[in-house]
Symmetry: C2
Subunit: 464 residues, 2 copies
């Protein structure tokens, strides 16, 4: 333990006593994220640096001591990417939470990684600006975590994912040097796109200490449409036709009958779905005025043509917010049935109905409830398995369903993760999806940028 004692002393010297946590009762809450399936270990220490310089000091000290670093933000992740490994240093970026700059004339913001997504949204809204990425945990997740996982959300169908809103990064590399990627301009092709290489790399290549983000004009207050379908297939047809007709809603979510029933019971309300409703589509347009009316009318027509039993549009903000709250209530609602474990696959938009049908089959096979909710507009589905956490058998069956859903997603031409990431639970699936040449390429890049395997070793893929 000589090295560890030396390391702790070095860390304390660099960061101060309050920023180096070693008491297991305290460090326990930094051990894992929100994914129950993922393994986690006990960290040697949890450090909370307050600046890029302090991050550099941590990296240099850990590199010298040969102790791995697991970077993390708030811990809202769903892949175990931020889970501690035994004996590591967990580097938490939440203290670096300054919004350094908002520049309305160039429509950009410069932020530290610990800024909470919602706080950034609020800060730029004052300038009439909009930071689109809105993962479900937007009220507590941090920008640093969003960058590391390339987080998505409900906005993606119109506004893309996190990587689409980033102009540049500041990253501490494995040798402790500070790398600046990208730029403040909206265009630029000087060199490799290192910015987008670090985004989504799940803390395996470096520690992001600052980001320059591209903002958009604040959209109009949305109009909302809800459509109830007698079959999942009919809802799937509606999604494909919306895509084909060239309508781009600002939100397009799907709930299957299990999700609908859970929400209705939880909120003690009717979603207007009625009995026999197999799937609900929830769409918004934030284009404003006549344009929003045209877009919702086009979606309404598509839904009717696809066989919707009920279609309702509203421009009443309160009613729209209520419907959106129902969508966001799916996970809390499912908690009433037991513990949830949410999966994350993305399929071509034409295959959504096949995915939901496949999940019904898997649900029957494992004998557990599987509710499907997801971002229909981009085919990113979150089949959510309900199990009794106190039952080893149910946990094993939930685990089985989780992996069966990944196989199903791949078989439909999809990917094993649309937005949650690989982390510590889908490593074998990454290898299956990208193949041996893909894995070799990942290893070569990891070895080039982090030759000592300092950052988050064993997450995403193994080095050999």
């Amino acid at each position: 333990m000589r090295t560890d004692t030396g390391l702790l002393a070095t860390l304390t010297d660099a960061l101060g006593k309050d920023a180096v946590l070693v008491d297991p009762d305290v460090t326990g809450s930094y051990r894992r994220d929100m994914m129950p399936l993922a393994p986690h270990g006990a960290p040697l220490a949890v450090v909370l640096p307050g600046s890029a310089e302090e991050v550099q000091a941590v990296v240099r000290a850990c590199a010298a001591a040969g102790v791995p670093i697991v970077p993390r933000g708030a811990g809202s992740g769903l892949s175990g990417a931020a889970n501690a490994i035994e004996g590591c240093v967990v580097l938490v970026t939440t203290r670096m939470n300054e919004i350094v700059e908002v520049d309305p004339d160039n429509r950009l913001a410069v932020v530290q990684p610990g800024v909470v997504n919602l706080d950034l949204r609020g800060a730029v809204e004052k300038h009439g600006l909009f930071y689109p990425p809105d993962p479900s945990s937007y009220d507590w997740c941090t920008i640093g975590g969003n960058l590391s996982t390339n987080a998505g959300g409900l906005c993606c169908v119109k506004y893309g994912v996190t990587t689409d809103s980033v102009l540049g990064l500041e990253v501490v590399l494995a040798d402790g040097e500070l790398l600046r990627t990208g730029r403040r301009t909206v265009k630029g092709v000087a060199g490799y796109d290192l910015t987008k290489l670090f985004i989504g790399s799940e803390g395996t290549l470096g520690v992001i200490t600052q980001a320059t983000l591209a903002l958009r004009p604040l959209p109009q207050a949305p109009g909302t449409l809800v459509a109830a379908f007698p079959s999942v297939a009919a809802a799937g047809v509606a999604v494909s036709r919306v895509v084909r007709e060239g309508v781009v809603p600002s939100l397009m979510e799907i709930l299957d009958s299990t999700s609908i029933a859970a929400v209705e019971a939880h909120l003690k309300t009717e979603l207007g779905a009625g009995s026999g409703c197999a799937a609900l589509l929830l769409c918004q347009s934030d284009s404003g005025g006549e344009q929003a009316g045209r877009e919702l009318a086009a979606i309404e027509q598509v839904c009717r043509d696809a066989g919707a039993d009920l279609v309702h549009s509203t421009f009443d903000p309160a009613e729209g917010a209520m419907l959106l709250a129902a969508r966001r209530a799916v996970l809390p609602a499912l908690e009433e049935y037991g513990t949830w474990m949410t999966d994350d696959v993305c399929v071509p938009r034409t295959r959504i109905a096949d995915l939901i049908a496949g999940c019904e089959r898997i649900s029957a096979e494992v004998g557990l409830k599987v509710a499907v909710v997801g971002h229909a507009g981009d085919g990113n589905m979150h089949p959510t398995i309900i199990y009794d956490a106190s039952s080893e058998d149910e946990f094993a069956r939930a685990n089985q369903a989780f992996h069966d859903i990944l196989a199903l997603g791949l078989s439909l031409g999809g990917t094993v993760t649309g937005e949650h990431g690989i982390g510590k639970i889908k490593r074998e699936w990454l290898a299956r999806e990208i193949g041996p040449v893909g894995v070799r390429t990942h290893r070569a890049i990891k070895a080039a940028l982090d030759p000592g395997n300092l950052f988050n070793p064993g997450s995403m893929f193994d080095l050999s």
Copy 2:
């Protein structure tokens, strides 16, 4: 020459005689792109593979023989990235020009690299779809070249650059293996974003043999606005205010007085600028209907407030096309004064006026005409230097102006290339922009993916 003879025999065996060119009279036209400043050498051979398998054969043969490969498309580049180096094999992808698939329900296309940008646009338009990237050379440049340079164009202010429209790639690596990156789904975070790493890597990391592209709904016929300003500063203020007001035009171009005079003389027409016009802004909205009217009205108001002498909007397609043709005529118009050498810097949108003023100063210093035209909406400017190609002295002064403009762009917080790339003319400037840590990171990635320095060696940066 033993190795070379063996290599040529191997290449001929693999590709057939017609696809391996060695006659200097024939290979001469594959020596260089459109940038007169860039060095170029004589290739050993020019090969035109017809499939990914043939590309693999070329890569394996060249790797075995230790002969470098310079990949290229049509050769419309403006950085010398595709220029031959002495004794290399130039790998031309123009024969691989199949549009493999257009999938309207998932709004994507799968194409080979040799497809001409305009041909793809036409093919998807039949399905009501739109491939946005539109570099000036769109009627002859290829998608492979667009991918390798991360090409931009006039659309970027609303629709982004090439990388924003790519879902996945197929790339032949230095060991001859075929790597598949990305996916067919609109979202996905399985592993590092290798797709965006290869995009813009200018042929230094592999040879792209196929791409899966994201398409958009075909926009509405555009409305067009032209505004004439008594000073460059006033035009600059208008651009900043449009950004701040949250208006997103589908095109926003600026022409300085030199460009305007050249176009007016060339087309023998008045652009309506009148005497004393220092800068012209040309904007479009493709939002359609009332929305387009609102957007152009907002821009019109901003231009008037900023001091425009004349503002004119039209929804007449012929008049709009005429105005756009005038913008596209700048380079041909400048040819009447001499040879042009176009630069490419991108600055924060608030600094456009400063850039144009700086170019006027540089023009006076070197005693050469410098016309500034560019994509005002994203700050990507193309100051274009006119010189007499038969005069060594003028060429040297043009070269001086070219580099002075890069220094100016950097000093304004910009980048040395917004869309043309680094290639063989801006290597020192890349190093200056990204600094030693950035260069080291580039070298590490290049060495990891191309340890033998097979692909386009010496382009973008040197390995040591």
